[in-house]
């Protein structure tokens, strides 16, 4: 190993004195009390300010105390531990803020009537109207993207794992799957717009949006399927081939079923990812206030599009609808995620060897 710790063994062996267990909690109480006193005596107010003052004060005091009694190295260790714990808490703040805000704001308009009405003949300032047309659009667009991306993605993954491994062609494909993973969604939308609408002359439609979503879903499906196929023990393929089973049947009847739970999980996560895509739909589906059940003809709506357009309105009623739609969308995504995780946990290939 090349990394060497600059430790001072002699000092370590001496096992320096340690703080008693009650010392740090006491320090915490003292800090809180001190800050409270400060707030009582000065015009300082507010929970946020309280935390912003008490927390650094405590960390500072603690570092000093520990450094005095246990030495500098221990003090740095404690400080780092606390700081790292703090980053975790900080990372949860936006999650709680976004989810909490969506829930409280969304509940104002969320409900059966919201889910079953469209925006046809609804003015932005009206306190009714709903996202039915958007839900229909999202289901159809995602459904079509699913129908394209899943079979195609699985076939590509099968090629990469079962047929192509090591070949230059497979390496090239694998490379471009990676490139596709990094494709910005707006560029996918621009491409479909340039190809489908500008060049081939079709109109805006749910189908055009589905094509863009397919591009975004495909690499995710390929990668997760590939990973799952590689987990299938080689011995199963050999056992099947040695029975005189043909390769394609071995792949479809032995390898795929063995990897199925993982593949389904990956597909669900891929769907969760594209359900919320907005940018490509702006360019290809366009959005409408009316119900359009036909994904092949004319502008449709979609939940993300609906949120985007309502959010751009100056009326509070529109903003409320945007939140309700955001809640609907988050519920769909979270349910998909949860289902995927449960399935993965439920049917992780428990190694029989």
């Amino acid at each position: 190993m090349s990394t060497v710790v600059q430790a001072e063994p002699s000092r370590l062996m001496m096992s320096r004195s340690r703080l008693p267990r009650w010392a740090l909690p006491l320090l915490g109480v003292l800090t809180v009390a001190g800050t409270a006193a400060l707030f009582a005596l000065t015009p300082l107010r507010g929970t946020a300010d309280f935390v912003l003052i008490a927390l650094p004060t405590y960390l500072l005091l603690q570092t000093i105390v520990v450094a005095r009694v246990e030495g500098g190295r221990q003090a740095r260790n404690r400080l780092a531990t606390h700081a790292l714990t703090l980053t975790f808490v900080v990372s949860l703040v936006p999650l709680v803020a976004v989810l909490g805000y969506t829930l409280t704001q969304g509940m104002r308009r969320f409900g059966l009537s919201f889910l079953t009405h469209s925006m046809r003949n609804v003015a932005e300032s009206d306190p009714y109207g709903g996202a039915y047309h958007a839900i229909i659009g999202t289901l159809e667009q995602v459904g079509i993207a699913f129908a394209f991306a899943v079979p195609l993605g699985i076939l590509v993954a099968i090629y990469l794992v079962e047929y192509g491994s090591g070949r230059p062609f497979a390496r090239t494909v694998s490379f471009f799957v990676d490139v596709m993973t990094g494709l910005p969604s707006i560029v996918a939308g621009l491409f479909i717009y340039a190809l489908w609408i500008l060049t081939l002359g079709f109109r805006y439609s749910g189908f055009a949006g589905a094509l863009a979503l397919t591009l975004l879903m495909l690499p995710t499906v390929v990668r997760s399927t590939e990973e799952m196929l590689r987990l299938v023990p080689h011995g199963l393929r050999e056992a099947s081939l040695a029975l005189g089973v043909r390769r394609w049947r071995t792949i479809l009847r032995i390898v795929l079923p063995t990897a199925m739970a993982g593949i389904v999980t990956g597909v669900m996560l891929a769907i969760a990812r594209i359900v919320g895509e907005t940018a490509p739909l702006v360019l290809t589906v366009f959005g409408t206030n009316s119900i359009n059940n036909d994904p092949f003809n004319g502008a449709q709506s979609a939940l993300p599009l609906y949120i985007y357009s309502e959010a751009g309105q100056p009326n509070d009623t529109a903003i409320d609808r945007a939140w309700a739609a955001a809640l609907t969308l988050i519920l769909i995504v979270m349910l998909l995620n949860l289902a995927a995780r449960l399935l993965a946990w439920w049917r992780t290939p428990k190694s029989s060897h």
């Binding site: 700081a83 990372s91 494709l183 500008l198 060049t199 043909r246 895509e277 907005t278 985007y308 988050i330």
Partner: protein, 334 residues
């Protein structure tokens, strides 16, 4: 090959087939094998076709607009593609894109690395998994919801904070302002930071988890505290992974559209004052101006999209090469 045999009563009767079953049976099934292999290869080839088509059609649609451009497309800052004569350039857009994404990384990377360290080496074993799931959930929130939240909650909420920064640190040029805050590049980068945080955290967590146990034990054996162990064993080992995670997060931030479009009040100026309203990004500009763009305007937007595509492509290639180098490295050390 010995003399061909015709299968008795069709191929069904194989169970009771006697000797000499091997030779002469025309492998009907072999055709299916070839067909299926061909099918998967075609599917794989389609990936290449798609990527080529993306590049080709973007170029095809961008070139006519670029031909009519009367200013330097790469350096000019104005965006008037539908004027006569058309004048548009991505100077301001590219600047805003890079600045917001970079700021986002400055905020997200330290937190993400801290979270990853916390989850892999500090959090209680049993809770680490569900805690990691919570952080992952951040990635599951659709970007339009972040945009909505940013617009309704963050823009007003960040005003006082921006004001504080500008009052106290206004002497630093970045923080200078004329007293109006809110829909600024700073707000956009906070939203972007939240969005790339889970990506960077997840990859960093993965590499920190892969630090060989003997590296860690060696550090402890020398008497290191936990923090010293992280600094001497975990961080050096994980550095390439963290770098490539950062680059991937950068790529993601560069291309984010709707969330930025919602929280920026767009203009076409290059300014270093990140707290004041204004700024723009390539992606947000496409979403914002697409609706009103005329024929040439759409070509111009496609041209800007092509640049975005090229930038993210380069960024992703860099991330990949870092990962690849890391593999070589660990192979050499191993």
């Amino acid at each position: 090959m010995s003399q061909p045999r015709t299968p008795p009563n069709g191929a069904r009767d194989e169970l009771s087939m006697g000797p000499a079953v091997v030779a002469g049976r025309r492998p009907r099934g072999a055709v299916w094998d070839a067909l299926f292999a061909g099918l998967t290869r075609t599917a794989a080839g389609l990936v290449l076709v798609l990527m080529a088509a993306i590049a080709a059609f973007l170029v095809l649609r961008a070139v006519p607009a670029l031909r009519k451009d009367t200013v330097n497309f790469f350096t000019a800052t104005q965006w008037s593609p539908d004027d006569t004569p058309p004048a548009f350039g991505i100077g301001a857009l590219a600047y805003g894109t890079v600045v917001t994404s970079t700021l986002a990384l400055l905020m997200a990377v330290p937190v993400a690395v801290g979270v990853a360290l916390y989850l892999t080496h500090i959090a209680p074993r049993r809770l680490a998994q569900p805690m990691a799931y919570l952080v992952d959930l951040l990635a599951a929130v659709p970007s339009v919801v972040y945009g909505l939240w940013g617009l309704i909650f963050l823009v007003p909420a960040i005003g006082p904070f921006s004001a504080f920064l500008s009052e106290r640190f206004g002497w630093i040029p970045f923080f200078a302002s004329d007293g109006i805050f809110g829909k600024s590049m700073f707000t956009a980068s906070v939203v972007l930071a939240i969005m790339v945080l889970p990506i960077i955290a997840a990859i960093s967590r993965e590499v920190f988890r892969q630090v060989p146990a003997d590296h860690i034990e060696a550090a402890y054996a020398l008497g290191a505290t936990r923090w010293e162990m992280m600094r001497t064993a975990v961080l050096p080992y994980g550095r390439p992974g963290v770098i490539s995670a950062t680059v991937l997060g950068f790529g993601r931030a560069l291309g984010e559209t709707i969330a930025v479009a919602l929280v920026l009040s767009a203009n076409y100026q290059i300014t270093y004052r990140i707290l004041t309203p204004g700024g723009n990004t390539i992606a947000a500009n496409i979403a914002n101006t697409y609706g009103e763009a005329g024929h040439n305007g759409r070509g111009a937007l496609i041209a800007s999209g092509l640049v975005l595509f090229a930038i993210t492509l380069v960024v992703n290639l860099v991330a990949r090469s870092v990962v690849a180098r890391r593999k070589d490295l660990s192979g050499a050390q191993g």
